[in-house]
Symmetry: C2
Subunit: 239 residues, 2 copies
């Protein structure tokens, strides 16, 4: 029996670099740890039916209806005129069960829209890390982790999650260039104390100014949910 | 007496991200460790008068004259019709003393041309790390380290050098966002054995296939030269 072929894994550290990566035959994992993909994971794990990622603010606001809530965030803050913000705790509300949510954020929804050429897009966060890893192990496609970053710049928390994927997929998927190696080295340095490692990072500092330390701690909890959100025809649903 | 104000240091991990950075009031350090900026440092330290970075291959070839040598590299290999390649040892030749060199490479010369809006551009490599650090400490401007990377993608060796700058400038220049923190964490992990840390990196693997381990070892030697190459009116000369 032939040994199973190694998959390849690459890491795109910023959506601004996405044109350098072949997406069409890949599974893309979109990562926006603080807090879009953590919210999406929490929402679907708590019974939300589907999430429509929308890059544009006004387009998102216009989708509000009896059957569709809106979630809007810019620069880390909830926006007037939207039902929901970007705290994962808001998405545990039982009233949201079975609902559709139109969702726009500073970085996460842009990372999704820039990845739409991929063969498949899934949503990753520490909250569903173990489920995502199992999903990727079971799949046959090569993998690209797309970090949402912050307004085009790289960030530490998304890179660490990408590194966690590379770490967990060792022996299954081989790093394709230096970005996955960088992410892997950083994750191995950080993994025993993610919060401590991130405490000086720019986005954690930014969120601390907004007094949402509780959100940060929650978003770094590992393997809390079994759900793997996937993007199907532009809409995020359970796999 | 007022305490001196902290400078700021940022790191641009790929020339593809350069539009995200304000360059006009900054000192840019261009970094292409394997091997363009290591060659440029070696050349000026060994008496070459000036180096003209040229992004385009044909434009570079056309500059050849009695007073101007040409240096050309693509994908790690020396090119036909050029006097010199991209090995630092070639630039120790005493015949080059006082000469001008037109220089084109896959990544390094592009990183320079994309940085031309900066207030000042200097050339960094491990070979002149200590001199570069002293120069930056003495200067008043905020700093951006621009990594040449590999065809738009990030690479480990340039990121490590950027991290070395952040590390050496601790207390003098404060990291501006997460990229300098990432570079710093990686450098601190790697600094006691740079060659070992880099041995699996994509570019080191690529160069090993070309049998230039000797070049790699040389490019990782620290503080061998005192020269700080600066770009003046598009030409690289000693500061």
């Amino acid at each position: 029996m032939a040994a199973p072929q190694l998959k390849r894994i690459d890491v795109c550290l910023s959506p601004e670099l996405i044109d350098l990566y072949p997406l069409n035959d890949r599974t893309v994992v979109v990562i926006d740890i603080l807090r879009a993909t953590s919210c999406m994971t929490t929402a679907l794990a708590n019974g939300v039916a589907e999430i429509v990622p929308v890059a544009d603010l006004d387009a998102c606001r216009a989708m509000r209806s009896d059957s569709c809530c809106t979630a809007g965030e810019r620069n880390g803050e909830k926006l007037d005129g939207f039902d929901l913000g970007n705290s994962p705790f808001e998405y545990m509300n039982p009233d949201l069960k079975g609902k559709r949510i139109a969702f726009t954020t500073t970085n996460g929804t842009l990372a999704i829209s820039k990845s739409l050429n991929a063969a498949e897009i899934i949503i990753g966060s520490f909250l569903n890390l173990d489920a995502v890893v199992r999903y990727l192990k079971a799949g046959t496609r090569d993998i690209i982790a797309v970090c949402a970053g912050w307004k085009g710049k790289v960030n530490l928390e998304d890179t660490l999650f990408a590194g966690a994927l590379v770490h967990e997929l060792a022996g299954i998927a081989e790093p394709e260039c230096d970005a996955p190696l960088m992410a892997l080295h950083l994750y191995r340095q950080a993994k025993d104390d993610l919060a401590g490692f991130l405490s000086n990072s720019s986005h954690v500092q930014r969120l601390k100014r907004l007094h949402i330390e509780k959100d940060i701690a929650f978003c770094l909890e590992r393997g809390k949910y079994e759900v793997v959100p996937v993007v199907r025809a532009g809409v995020i649903v359970r796999a």
